[in-house]
């Protein structure tokens, strides 16, 4: 075991992690721990764009953007956070431009903008051009640009270091004459993939930026490595997870594969058709049609298929039609997307519609934070020194449904905030003694996985988990399907204790790490399902067929899931609620 000492340790080198690192690295001694080489992070897969009310091509302002975000999130958005994000969006885009990001340009040489689902002018009057983009590889360019600037600022990376545990100590604090125990960050435990050794990083601040958890589903746009590690670590250490029932299904995944075709396709004019050639979104969202928010489009698609209007031999997908667009226009704006269709399905998008179906895409929920990116241990207690940003976090700017382009924005705005806050805290705080034997739990975890010889295969358990999640916790949910899912997850967890890891070596033992990741996936699937069970209403990305209406009276609250072995009927997940923060917009019916 080796011990390293840094002011700030950042877990994850995606967009959020590197944006934080650029800030923190210039203020305090910072290390970035990442299980992938930074440029392999999934931020690079984002295609469409990053929105900001720059008003470069048409009238726009950040208040409209706030409104769209709040409405898109079905009013479950914390409005103080949404305001911060919409306001700082402009600076966030300009920051990136100054760092060198090659945005597409208008004829005047300004940053070009295009339409994206749910982004409107003047509180829903008409679609607005708000998304800044670099062809259809905006995420790629953000990731590259941030990495480039990390190189520029000599950020210290520990590549292929898996963080497996968070070290916290309980400290006595006296608030209003009352003494109680409060968690404080001491560092993290990480596993060096190359050598198989554990490394402890002592740190004054820790920033979690480890991304999403899409791999709980089978059909997903997410990378194999998005296994919810950060959420899982926090959860196991007693930190709650907020709004985990809200998972976004992106309408246009390549049918059967889940590979994403960006919403930019529809932003540029592509439309959805069913097997009868009908542009069915005209029925579901008469005003903005194909550019309605993702949850609505995804459900409409699933509904078309359910009602027998699906295309293809098994009638299990719908069609994305770009054939009325100029090939030159498609090439200029959507080159990667057309390549995906050609490479993976052998479909020529110039002349043929592309088979698509909703794909698991984005976790709206995550580790709860305030707008300072400080992690909360309950509804309002901050954990000193612990920060989170990006998809792993839930500042709640996305509420129950994230608008397209708001995530790349989120990672930049709150990544930056987290980096600054973490460094500033580290400059004033002292190191906390790391607990004795900081690695016992992690060693136990690894040894259990390595030495158990029950013969169960990790891949099989994972597949069964993904199957049940796809079948029962997808766009349509009912009490029945959710209970069934929980039951299955419980049996999978039991089988998980009997897995066999074939690779017994130390060097690059990805077999072992996949087993560990599966543990996180099981935990997260459980939390997501339990939270979905708890929310007996339909809102945003969460649609309960048995409760198809939004129920503001009982459920205009965030859910907070805690690890609690005594909550046996929900598989050890206890659910509580947290009020939503309103500033200027009161809930209205969400119509497009």
């Amino acid at each position: 075991m080796q011990v390293h000492k840094y002011d700030v340790v950042i877990v994850g080198a995606g967009g959020a992690g590197m944006r934080a690192a650029i800030e923190s690295g210039q203020r305090a001694r910072t290390a970035v721990l990442t299980k992938l080489y930074p440029t392999r992070s999934h931020t690079g897969a984002a295609q469409g764009g990053m929105c900001a009310a720059l008003a470069n091509v048409e009238e726009d302002n950040w208040e409209w953007h706030t409104f769209d975000t709040v409405k898109g999130g079905d009013y479950l958005v914390d409005q103080d956070a949404a305001e911060v994000m919409a306001k700082e969006a402009i600076e966030a885009v300009l920051d990136l431009e100054k760092m060198g990001l090659p945005f597409n340009r208008t004829p005047e040489g300004r940053i070009d903008q295009r339409r994206f689902g749910g982004h409107t002018r003047d509180h829903g009057k008409a679609p607005v051009r708000r998304s800044c983009y670099a062809a259809d590889r905006t995420g790629h360019m953000i990731l590259q640009t941030l990495y480039q600037n990390c190189v520029k600022h000599n950020v210290e990376f520990y590549n292929e270091y898996y963080v497996l545990d968070l070290l916290m100590v309980d400290e006595e604090v006296t608030v209003d004459g009352e003494t109680r125990l409060q968690k404080r960050v001491a560092g993290v435990v990480s596993y060096d993939l190359a050598s198989g050794e554990l490394h402890v990083f002592q740190a004054k601040s820790v920033v979690f930026a480890s991304g999403g958890v899409g791999k709980v589903y089978k059909t997903t746009s997410n990378a194999h490595t998005l296994t919810g590690d950060g959420m899982g670590i926090a959860f196991r250490r007693g930190i709650p997870l907020e709004d985990m029932e809200f998972f976004q299904f992106h309408p246009t995944g390549l049918a059967g594969l889940g590979i994403l075709l960006s919403e930019a396709a529809r932003g540029e004019g592509a439309i959805l058709r069913n097997s009868e050639g009908e542009r069915f979104m005209e029925r579901y969202a008469p005003t903005i049609k194909d550019l309605a928010p993702r949850d609505i489009v995804a459900r409409s698609m699933a509904n078309e298929v359910r009602e027998g209007r699906g295309a293809g031999p098994n009638k299990d997908y719908v069609l994305l039609d770009l054939t009325h667009l100029e090939p030159a226009h498609i090439d200029a704006k959507l080159p990667d997307i057309t390549e995906f269709a050609r490479t993976y399905l052998g479909v020529e998008p110039y002349t043929e519609p592309v088979p698509v179906f909703p794909t698991a895409h984005y976790a709206m929920g995550g580790i709860p934070t305030n707008i300072q990116a400080e992690v909360l241990a309950d509804n309002d207690t901050v954990v000193p020194g612990l920060y989170a940003a990006g998809e792993v976090a839930c500042v709640s700017v996305h509420g129950s449904n994230r608008l397209g382009t708001n995530s790349l924005l989120d990672i930049n705005v709150f990544g930056k905030r987290a980096g600054i806050a973490a460094a500033q805290y580290a400059l004033t705080a002292d190191f906390v003694e790391i607990p004795e034997n900081p690695t016992v739990e992690t060693e136990e975890l690894l040894n259990r996985a390595r030495s158990s010889e029950g013969g169960e295969r990790v891949a099989l358990i994972r597949k069964e988990l993904q199957d049940i999640m796809d079948a029962n916790v997808q766009v349509f949910r009912t009490e029945e399907t959710l209970l069934e899912a929980l039951r299955v997850i419980d049996t999978l967890e039991e089988r998980y204790t009997r897995i066999t890891v074939q690779d017994k070596g130390k060097r690059f033992n990805l077999d072992l790490l996949e087993a560990v990741e599966l543990g996180f996936l099981l935990d997260m699937a459980k939390v997501m399902t339990a939270a979905a069970l708890h929310r007996k209403e339909s809102r945003g990305g969460h649609f309960r067929e048995d409760y198809p209406e939004r129920d503001d009276e009982n459920f205009m609250t965030h859910s907070m899931a805690y690890k609690d072995p005594s909550a046996t009927e929900t598989s050890g997940v206890r659910l509580e609620t947290k009020p939503v923060i309103f500033t200027r917009y009161q809930p209205m019916e969400r119509k497009y």
């Binding site: 992938l36 440029t39 392999r40 992070s41 999934h42 690079g44 897969a45 885009v93 300009l94 431009e97 060198g100 090659p102 597409n104 340009r105 208008t106 004829p107 300004r110 940053i111 070009d112 295009r114 790629h140 590259q144 480039q148 190189v151 520029k152 190359a194 194999h224 490595t225 594969l257 590979i259 004019g269 050639g277 009908e278 542009r279 295309a311 293809g312 031999p313 997908y317 069609l319 039609d321 009325h324 490479t343 993976y344 399905l345 479909v347 519609p353 592309v354 088979p355 295969r457 990790v458 891949a459 890891v501 074939q502 690779d503 070596g505 060097r507 690059f508 033992n509 990805l510 077999d511």
Partner: protein
């Protein structure tokens, strides 16, 4: 390039040609996958392992590797993440050529013969298909891959015309997968050559109208291990999964150094 989107609304309803949308029956087929194994914890020698697998129409080499790892031998090691050709994790040598495993459809390969999978060449092999990427990233870091702009920052964005933006568009696509550098016969010889990927990323900044440090990068690449070692073998251009015209970019950098010096 204008931002004009669709001016005319597409039809509400169209006749679809029968069987439209590709898809159709997905046939299965059998393949033999041969993987070059190496694990220094076990032996200093490499060897080939072979599996027979049944795969489906849209499966890629990555799916075959996963099938082996998940169902047959968990110790087979390789990097991967995104599974659709955008993260650059899984460049490897497939049937003798550098490709991304996640972008190479099995049905496009000759399935009547074994499919050979080896680590990329020229970088130290760590285990099975995993190589040490540090030398590769070191070269990348050395060419100063970040925008350097003198003069004070404008309040808003720097202006750049669509043509100026176009000038370096191709080289912004790079995902640092190393398929190019590890396909280069010159890089194989002694590993000292900066390699095509570093040059591509230098190109991205040298030809960016907003950047002021082009001269410094040209000076770095004027090194004896720099652009002049390129013998225009085009392996890099063929290997690049992003379709970047790598050799062309290198040529443009050579020209830029020449015109600056003469």
């Amino acid at each position: 390039m204008s931002t004009e989107t669709m001016e005319k609304e597409p039809a509400s309803k169209v006749e679809l040609a029968p069987g439209v949308g590709g898809g159709g029956e997905i046939p299965t087929f059998d393949i033999t996958l041969k993987v070059r194994r190496y694990n220094p914890e076990v032996s200093d020698e490499a060897h080939w392992d072979e599996w027979k697998l049944t795969m489906y129409g849209t499966d890629r080499v990555l799916d075959a590797l996963h099938k082996v790892k998940w169902e047959h031998d968990g110790s087979v090691s390789f990097r991967r993440s995104c599974a659709h050709g955008v993260c650059g994790s899984d460049a490897m040598r497939i049937n003798g050529r550098n490709r991304l495993a996640c972008k190479t459809l099995l049905k496009d390969l000759d399935t009547s013969k074994p499919i050979l999978v080896e680590p990329i060449k020229g970088l130290p092999v760590e285990k099975d298909l995993i190589v040490d990427m540090e030398p590769f990233f070191q070269s990348y870091r050395e060419i100063m891959p970040f925008l350097i702009s003198k003069g004070h920052e404008p309040a808003k964005e720097r202006l750049q015309s669509a043509e100026e933006r176009d000038r370096y568009d191709d080289t912004t696509k790079c995902i640092l997968c190393a398929a190019c550098t590890s396909s280069c016969p010159v890089f194989w010889t002694d590993g000292q050559y900066f390699g095509p990927a570093a040059i591509v990323n230098a190109h991205r900044f040298i030809f960016d109208s907003r950047d002021d440090a082009g001269d410094m990068r040209l000076e770095i690449l004027n090194d004896k291990e720099g652009v002049w070692r390129c013998r225009t073998t085009f392996n890099c251009s063929e290997a690049c999964p992003r379709g970047i015209q790598v050799t062309k970019a290198i040529s443009e950098v050579k020209q830029a150094i020449l015109t600056r010096k003469i």
